[in-house]
Structures are given as structure tokens and as C-alpha cells.
Amino acid sequence: MPEPIVQIRDLSKVYGRGEIEVRALDHVSLDIAAGEFLALMGPSGSGKSTLLHIIAGIDRPTGGQCIVQGTNVAELSETDLADWRNANVGFVFQTFNLIPVLTAFENVELPLLLTTLTASERRSHVEAALELVGLADRMTHLPRQLSGGQEQRVAIARALVMDPTLLVADEPTGNLDAHAAADVLSLLQRLNQEAGKTVILVTHDPKAASYARRTAHLEKGELLNGDGTKH
């Protein structure tokens, strides 16, 4: 098995304090290999999104370790974590989350504004990313001028533009029709297979999960074995 890019050990996340405590993750341990396409499945409230957020460095665990590419993300300061996210993680969200006043090109360019790249270098990166998702002809369109599927592909281009190793997608097809959803999932699959990106997909849809090479199930914050029993 290739070297794990994500190593999760005894990871816990507890929301709230005092009497009202919600245990979103309960001592979860998981390895994700480089170049893997993993689907995290589970019902609502199972902790799959929380796990994804901690791996992606936008949330912090209350216990355990989450090491991504050799970095214990929980130990980074907020500023270092922001830099780390910029360089290592590409995000795809359910609701696309494009900036409405920026064109497709400018939305994709956004993470590059934090780099030292020149305008022409940024342009070539953005064009390549939009080309990859099949939207080279929609660069000047505003989000409201795009379909849901196209918006999500712009979001994927934005996630790819920094060429991160890790691509995290939280219910990326939740707001799409079946056809657009299949397009987006195929794109993620292609990025995994052809570009070697490690993709972590959170979904509760078995059909979406079928695009992944491996599926991990969560329930009530605990990781289940292949036979449905708890670790």
C-alpha cells in the first residue's frame, strides 16, 4: 500500500461544554493513501463532514491526531493553517460557494492572489484549470450566468488551481440534478485517476460513493468496519 497521505489516530471532536456535549467524532483512526479516492459515508450527524473539515484544516479536533502530508494540522497556528490550506487543500462544497461579483476566471484566480505569481502566470494557471473542467469558454461568465453543474465545475477548478495534493468534496452533488452530478463525479474520478489527486468525498448517496475506490462508513461519530461493526 502506498504511503498514507492522511494519518488519523484516535481522533475526537466534542461540541459544547458542560452538561450538553455532542460527540461528533469518537476516537476515529483512519489512514488515507496518496492517490486514493475515498468516500466517507454515513447518515446525517454521523460526523463525516466534521472528519473532512479536520482533515482539510478548517476545524480542529478536541483529541487525537490528524497528520496530513507529515503535518499535524491541529498544531498549526491560524495563520500557518491558512497558508497550509492554500498550498495543500482544494475545497469543493455542496453549495458551490463562488463569489457572486467575480467571473468564473476571477473566482478560480482567488487562491492565486495569495501567491507571488505574476498576472500572466496566474492567467495560465487559471486557464489550465478551467480547461481541465471543460469551462474554457465560460471564463467571463458570472456565477449567476452559469448552470449549477457549471458552477460546481468552476468550484472544482478553483480547488485545483493551486495544484493541491488533497481534494476534499463535501456533498458536491447535493444541489445538482442527476446528469450534472454524474459529470462532477466523473470529473473528480478523472482527477484522481489521471492527475493522481487524493480525493476525499463526503456523501450519503451510495451512487456517488460508487465513484470512489474505497468507502469508509461513519455512524454516531465512530468508524465502522467493512461488516458494519464498530472499530
Binding site: I58, E78, D83, R85, N97, V101, L113
Partner: protein
């Protein structure tokens, strides 16, 4: 795209709100600039280089008390004195009360234009004024206001003094940075009307040099110490400020209104910025997710708020400057305000207020935005 371009795009996303907010800041800064100009005029009355050579002597008790005319001779004999003139405020009514918001002074006709040399009168007119006891010279703005012409006869009804001088306009004065709304007539004529009682309001003296002034002030006051009418002599500037101080708490009143305006502006701008950022909380979360850190988020919000406040500030401050430069304030105020120069100092203060406004109004939304985690921010959209 550049970061400034991104900030501009964000600022322009709700154009109606932007325009209304900028206009409210601009209007407030316009009022602020206007009030500060009024305050500035009170604290720093218009002055000229010549003013540094002038001193005023009045009764030690108050301006309302008069001095004996014989003091003039003693003042004139002091070393360092170039000219000395009687200078008595007449305060008469022209036609009716509503037309009488300008001052008239009884002066020594042959000296007044030497002492106030920034008042420019054509030689022929000056000679005509000096020669004729009932002649007067009038400021150019006042002439224009009432449509007077040289040779017109005007009568003032005395309110302080029991006489009604009937004067003939023989000259018009004008000059840079001076009040062109005054009337000067012969003190001899005033004395005659008053029955030669020898009463004078103040004496104005022009010194030979600015260096001579401190000594002169001491010498004049010392000369009349332990008399029935002791004097108080001071520089023109000190005299003007003392005169203004008689307006009481007007300065405090104007200062209070300015403070209220600034505070109201702060609330309006802070509220707008809070609303604008609150509407964008999920976008802020996305920015953080793609790598923007707290400082960068703060900078984006600060720049937007600063831009908004400064645009309003520039419009308001320079709008006031433009308006008061090109509008005849004297006419607009029906003769109550002879001049209203918006100075660079006042504009700088207005822009400083706008700058502070931009910074302070961005603090709360920026703090909230930085404190909100990416996950919390993203949840706000669901």
C-alpha cells in the same frame, strides 16, 4: 484581478447602499467642515501682515467704557508710534433693524487708511473723504449689497450714542482678506454731534516695527495707570480673540454639534459595514478556506470601509471648499458672514475624521469575521 480590484468589486456589489452611505458620510463631513470653519474663524480671525503692527487701547474695565480723547496726544508722543487714530464703534441702524448687521466706526479720517493700509481706496476718493467732515468710506461688499453709489447719502440712527449721523459716501475700500462690510466716518463729526464731549471707544495705534509693540503696550498702559480711565492695550489679534470670547459658549455649542455629527457618521458607517460583512459571512469563510488569513481578511474589510469613508470625506470636505469658494457667502447670509474661507487645516481635519471613521467602523465587523471559523461561516448559508 488584483486585491484592490477585488475590494472595489465587493464595495460596488450593492450600489444603492453604497451611494446612500457615501452621500450620508459626505453630507455629514460637509456639515462638519462648515462648523469647523466657523470655529476656526472664531479661533483664528482673518489677519494680515499689517495687523502685526497694530495695537488697540481700550478702557481697562470693558469695551463699553469710554476713554478721554486727550489720551491720543500722549500715545502719539510715545517712541515707536507711527500713527494713532480714534476708533469708536457707532452701532447705528440703517433704515430698520434687518438692514443693520454691519458695523460703523467713527475714526480719524486722515490716519485710518495709514493704520489699516490693507484697505485700498483710490487716491481721489481718499482725498474727498478726508476733506469733507460728513463723508464716509464704505466696504465694497456693503456697497454692492445695498446698491449704493459714490455720492449717495446715508443716515444711521444711533442706538448706543444719542445722535444720527448723516453721511455722504465719498469712497469705497476693498482688499484681500479684510472685512469689506464696514463704514468709516469722521470722528470730528461724531464729536460735533455728541456735543464735543471728547469720548472715544478705543485708540488704534500703528507701531513703527513689530519689535516695538511689547514695549509700546507696556508704556501706554503705564501712562494711564492710576487715572480714572485706566487702559488695556493689546495686539490686534488678542483684541479680536477677546471680542470673540464675548460670544460665550458658541464655540462649545458648535464643538458639541460637530461631535454629534461625527458620532452619527460612525454609527451609520459601522452599521453599513456590519451589514455588508454579515451578508458576506459565507464568502469570508470561503476566503479563509482557500487560504486568506485573519490579517488579510481584516485588511480587505478595512480597505473597503476606509474607501467608503474617504470617498464620502473627500466629497464632503472638498464640496464645502468648492461651495464656499464659488458662492457669495456674504450675499447668501444676508450680510451676516463677510467671509468664510475653508482652510487647508479644516479640510485636513475633516479627512482625518473620515480616516478615523473608516478604521473604527471596520473594527467590529472585522473582529467578528476573524473570530468566525470557516465551519461556522459555511453553516450560515445552509
Amino acid at each position: 484581478m488584483t486585491i484592490p480590484g477585488f475590494i472595489l468589486r465587493n464595495a460596488l456589489r450593492n450600489k444603492r447602499r453604497l451611494v446612500l452611505t457615501v452621500l450620508s458620510v459626505a453630507l455629514s463631513l460637509f456639515l462638519f467642515t462648515t462648523l469647523q470653519t466657523a470655529l476656526h474663524l472664531m479661533a483664528h480671525p482673518p489677519t494680515t501682515e499689517e495687523a502685526a503692527l497694530r495695537i488697540a487701547t481700550r478702557h481697562r474695565v470693558s469695551l463699553a467704557n469710554v476713554l478721554p480723547v486727550k489720551y491720543q496726544l500722549r500715545i502719539e508722543r510715545l517712541p515707536g508710534v507711527k500713527y494713532c487714530s480714534k476708533f469708536t464703534f457707532f452701532g447705528g441702524i440703517y433704515k430698520d433693524q434687518s438692514h443693520s448687521n454691519f458695523a460703523q466706526f467713527a475714526v480719524d479720517a486722515d490716519r485710518i487708511l495709514r493704520i489699516f493700509s490693507e484697505m485700498i481706496v483710490p487716491r481721489q476718493q481718499e482725498e474727498a473723504f478726508v476733506k469733507e467732515k460728513t463723508a464716509c468710506i464704505v466696504g465694497a461688499k456693503l456697497m454692492e449689497r445695498f446698491g449704493w453709489k459714490i455720492g449717495d447719502r446715508i443716515t444711521f440712527q444711533g442706538t448706543i450714542w444719542g445722535c444720527d449721523p448723516e453721511l455722504t459716501i465719498r469712497g469705497v475700500y476693498h482688499g484681500q482678506g479684510i472685512d469689506e462690510t464696514l463704514v468709516f466716518f469722521h470722528h470730528d463729526y461724531f464729536d460735533e454731534l455728541m456735543g464735543d464731549r471728547g469720548l472715544v471707544g478705543t485708540f488704534w495705534t500703528k507701531a513703527e516695527s513689530a519689535e516695538a509693540i511689547p514695549t509700546l503696550i507696556d508704556q501706554i498702559d503705564a501712562a494711564f495707570r492710576n487715572t480714572d480711565a485706566e487702559t488695556k492695550t493689546e495686539t490686534e489679534r488678542a483684541f479680536q480673540l477677546e471680542f470673540i470670547s464675548m460670544l460665550g459658549n458658541v464655540k462649545l455649542f458648535i464643538g458639541s454639534i460637530s461631535t454629534v455629527i461625527v458620532f452619527t457618521m460612525l454609527l451609520v458607517t459601522a452599521s453599513t459595514m456590519s451589514m455588508a460583512i454579515r451578508e458576506r459571512s459565507r464568502e469570508m469563510a470561503i476566503l479563509k478556506a482557500v487560504g486568506f488569513n485573519g490579517t488579510q481578511i481584516f485588511s480587505l474589510i478595512l480597505a473597503e470601509s476606509f474607501g467608503l469613508a474617504m470617498t464620502g470625506g473627500l466629497l464632503g470636505c472638498f464640496g464645502a471648499k468648492l461651495l464656499f469658494t464659488h458662492v457669495d457667502v456674504y450675499k447668501l447670509s444676508h450680510g451676516n458672514v463677510p467671509m468664510f474661507p475653508v482652510t487647508t487645516d479644516v479640510i485636513a481635519l475633516g479627512l482625518l475624521v473620515a480616516l478615523g471613521l473608516g478604521v473604527v467602523s471596520s473594527l467590529a465587523p472585522a473582529r467578528a469575521s476573524i473570530k468566525t471559523t470557516v465551519v461556522e461561516g459555511l453553516k450560515e448559508l445552509d
